[in-house]
């Protein structure tokens, strides 16, 4: 028995193992060592064979010493093996040359049109504010596009110079408000809706006009809403679109379907109102019309304006996109040049 009380035979076995493992330099050496000591016919197994030679009362202690050694060996082999493996993974210098600057396989990734990206953003924003989304037809009748919105029969915007007519009673919608009229006719109150889509105005195309454009319209009809609430909703919306807190400002303006009506501005999201190239040094950006729904519009769809009030806004999505991406020509959206589309 040794000083620590371990049988000599075990001590010798451990000492030999230590010597050998120090010499092991390859995974192969380690594997041989593992088989020699831990294998089915290995040294540990043979140590257990010596148990017959031990007095019965000491057999338990002997066995536990062997198990201890076995565990030690297993750990040692594993740790040396890990060291060797790491060493061999690190030894890259000996591998064949690989030019890492060669380009990878050029997968083509698709791109969503910037307008539809803004539409998606707006849909997200308004769903988060618990609005419903409604859709309608692009060929609309003149009642829903004009009359119901207080745009009387001889209003200049109904002029064929400004509006595309399919026949005297049908036009290509000039705004998505027509959708809202239908929603008010069919919907249950209160109403919180947005609609988005293609609209048409008979504008010859230039850097800021195109006969087709997209519009987002919002409408809230409830018993207890006011102009300040409109301001709140618009602030949230534009903060969402530009990802930076903006302030909404109104100036009085006339639209037949809202009263009071307003032209709506936001503080420039790029300079925070100090004035920059995007806002033309104005510190703010004009976005479009908004206001409190005209009581006559409510009467037109059989809603009692003495009980319900509403607010509405309708803005061009192209304009928002042009601001967000700092695009200076609306026609780029409809040219569909790949060099343009792949930027978004």
């Amino acid at each position: 028995m040794s000083e620590e009380g371990k049988p000599k035979i075990i001590e010798e076995c451990k000492a030999k193992f230590e010597k050998r493992i120090q010499k092991a330099t390859t995974a192969e050496d380690i594997e041989k060592l593992r088989i020699k000591y831990l294998g089915r016919k290995g040294e540990i197994r043979s140590l257990f064979g010596h148990i017959q030679e031990i007095p019965p009362e000491k057999r338990g202690e002997f066995g536990s010493h062997i198990n201890e050694l076995k565990t030690y060996m297993e750990q040692k082999i594993q740790s040396v093996s890990d060291q060797l493996e790491n060493f061999s993974l690190d030894a890259t210098t000996e591998k064949p040359y690989c030019d890492l600057t060669l380009p990878g396989v050029p997968f083509v990734m698709g791109h969503q049109h910037p307008i539809s990206q803004i539409i998606d953003d707006l849909l997200d924003i308004f769903r988060s504010m618990n609005f419903d989304v409604v859709s309608g037809y692009e060929i609309e009748d003149t009642f829903h596009n004009f009359d119901a919105l207080n745009i009387h029969q001889w209003h200049p915007s109904r002029n064929p110079q400004d509006t595309f007519y399919v026949d005297p009673e049908h036009i290509l919608r000039t705004q998505t408000s027509a959708v809202q009229i239908r929603a008010m006719e069919n919907g249950t109150l209160p109403l919180r809706i947005v609609s988005m889509g293609r609209c048409y105005r008979r504008d010859a195309s230039d850097a800021t006009h195109y006969p087709v454009f997209h519009q987002i319209e919002g409408l809230v009809i409830d018993k207890n809403v006011n102009f300040c609430d409109l301001s709140g909703i618009l602030t949230e919306m534009m903060t969402g679109v530009f990802g930076t807190r903006v302030e909404v400002r109104f100036l009085p303006s006339y639209f037949p379907f809202v009263e009071p009506g307003a032209e709506t501005f936001i503080s420039c999201p790029f300079c925070g109102g100090k004035g920059c190239n995007v806002c033309g040094k104005a510190g703010e950006i004009e976005l479009g019309g908004s206001g409190m729904v005209h009581p006559q519009v409510l009467r037109n769809v059989n809603i009692d304006p003495s009980i319900y009030r509403g607010f509405a806004f309708g803005w061009g999505i192209e304009r928002i996109a042009m601001m967000k991406y700092q695009i200076d020509d609306i026609r780029l959206f409809y040219d569909n040049n790949i060099d343009f589309l792949e930027q978004f």
């Binding site: 060669l102 380009p103 396989v105 083509v108 990734m109 698709g110 791109h111 969503q112 049109h113 307008i115 618990n130 419903d132 409604v134 692009e138 029969q153 001889w154 200049p156 109904r158 002029n159 064929p160 110079q161 595309f164 007519y165 399919v166 290509l172 209160p190 919180r192 008979r202 010859a204 006969p211 409830d222 207890n224 809403v225 006011n226 102009f227 300040c228 609430d229 301001s231 709140g232 618009l234 909404v248 400002r249 109104f250 100036l251 009085p252 303006s253 006339y254 009263e259 009071p260 009506g261 032209e263 009581p295 409809y334 040219d335 569909n336 040049n337 790949i338 060099d339 589309l341 792949e342």
Partner: protein, 807 residues
Amino acid sequence: MIISYGYLQDILKKECPSVEELTKKFPEIGFEVENIFLPENNTVFTVKVIEKTDIPSTEHLLHATISDGVQTHQIVTSWKELRVGGVYLWAPPGTTIGGITLTSKDFQNVQSEGMLLSYVEVSLDNTVVSNQERLGPMELPPDTPIGKNFFDLFWLSFPTFDLKIPYNRPDCYSMEGLLREVTAAFDIHFPATDRRSIHHIYPPFKEVQIKRSVRNISFKGLKVLDSERCPIYLGALLGDVKIDASPFEIRRRLMAFRVRPVNNVVDCANIIMFYYQQPLHTFDLDRLMGHHIEVRTPLAPESFDALDGKTYTLTENDLVIADEVRPIAIAGVMGSSDSEIMDSTKNIFLECAYFQPKTISRTSARLHLVSDASSRYARGVDYGQLEDVMKITVNLMSSVCGGTIAGEFFTHRTTIQPPPDIDLSLQEFSDVTGIDISKFQASSILKKLEIPFENTLRDGLRIHPPSFRVDLHESVDIIEELLRFTGYHNIQPSKPMYQVEYKPEKPWIKMNRLIRQQMGALGFFEAMTDSFAKDEEVALLYPSDTPGLVQVENPLRKDQSYLTPNRILALLDIAKKNISKKNTNLRLYEIGNHYLQGENLYLDWLITGDTQCQTWCHEPRTMDFYFAKGIKENSVLMRYHIPFTTKPSENHNVFDPCQALDVIVEDSTIGTYGAVHPKLLQYFGIHQPVFFSCMQLNPIMKYLVRHGHYRPISAAQDVLRDIAFLVDRDIPAGQLVKTIQETAGYCIKKTIIFDLYQGKNIDTTKKSIAIRMMFNFGQNKTSEEIQEIMDDIVQSLHNVYNIEIRE
């Protein structure tokens, strides 16, 4: 509406706000500043020609002596039409005109000091000069003060505002109306009586005695035959008028309003309109036929030669002013060329009327004829001021257009119902705007705007809309007025309170979102096109009698009148443009309507070029029908488990007859895909194969928005087996696969045709085909059991198609 700051300052004197204050204030009270014309200035003076003599040795030059009131100067000019006594513009030596600095010059011993100027040389817009002035020297009225700086004298050295007047505020299509707003906004005390003084349009005005009858004029009177369309019509006769150019004070106001001078009578009428809003019309009485004027509906259809040189056809929806024979004006819109005031005119009939706005806007819109008068009448003029304006006009014309004027008035008047009173509660104001207002604040705003009211309500005011405010109908209109003057900047963001409820994503939005995701993952770029199609291109695809084609009545371009029945036209156009820019490998898609039998939402896509460009490790592979088929079937259709079949397409206008399939879902054809017809490509000038797919979205929406149920995954191993055989070349591969699937039944997971060969070493009537099958039997099977199934498959193929197994 053009507002000259110089003119405004002339009226408001010391009280006039600064240009900066006005620039800020106008939009705050609802008048967008569309433009500010910057001031102009130069050392250009008004001078009078005292004497002119021809220079004998030249044919085209003359020598003139001019006076600036203090000294005389000599100049040599080529303007033969120069009048002695006339007032012109003179630039002394040292002045820079058009980049050239003038000096004294010697013309054959005559010293020429500076030069006389034309309107171009003082950078005047040609719309503010008379026809005569456009051709020669800029001649100013003879009473123009001389020796003065021209730009200062005519207020051109001040900025000028171009304001956008809201459609519902016709009262502000006038200096007087805007003055009311400006003085209200800046709290300037300037009562209506001062504001409406005739001296603001003609300071030298002195009242003349107007006689009540006109000698030698056999005019009998006025007949208004349509009182509904013409509720008020005032007429006056002015005899012995002297037609001339307008005096200086009128001329500089015309220039301030950017109006071209015509003659003193017309200029007076114009100045009145721009100052007081009320349009006027003047007729040459001696050129009228018969002895009275009628206001009537046209004897439809009646043709009319207007002042603008065009002939219009009038209908019973219009209104005309007529003599006993023919119309002499389209009421409220435009007069005729054969009744207008000419240099020889002696006697005038002056019209001051109120026409029904609807009638004027209808006529103006129908004829596409907008005049200064029609744009005011159409919005509604102030019928309450007609008598006053008539009196001012007659006074002004009497004062300006000669000495022996006599007047006689004719009146047709029906009662116009005044708008009903409006009760406004202060609570309603705060309910609508979200901000509070006191009764005192509200009253003082209304007072400043000259909107009469009674303070008889406990919580509000009773408003009597004045005749000049055609926009005030109900309480919200008053609320807007109060908000305008308390300031829209007081609107602060708040959050509406509402009951939150779950709002599911709309199926069409979900569908669009999923499709966009899929197409993006497949490398497609989303395009957006307008919805118009060229007639010629539509004709390529659809005969003109195709039912359901949609045409626009008034297209922007005559050759582009259709709404697109198929977006392939737009997508090919985009492809062509991109290919010309060397972007030859394209994958484009669009979600949009096709207009054929109404509007139908489609997913359209187009591919062309290589599936992948050549790189150091890849050979290029050109897109072909099977690539298109892979996209078509694997993306939306199979991804969302939409049961579909295909059959060869007969749409041979769009597609290559050999390479196109219709897609059928629930027994209806929902779309087609395949190679674009070479003829169509040739038309678009595209010289590489293009593959196109169109698919209606509404029929498949339900498949995209539903969700399926989990099927347990088999624990057994998948088994692969290959089979290769010869078969008659005409037998479609699809049928072979179908037979295999039917024979193997549920246990077959996948079949892949991994080799197909025709040619050398094979009978020319045969093809060799190799198919890999993947089975899963739900439990592990022995090789012998699997072989039994393979034997069954081979047997079926042999029985049906007489295949020959290849070893």
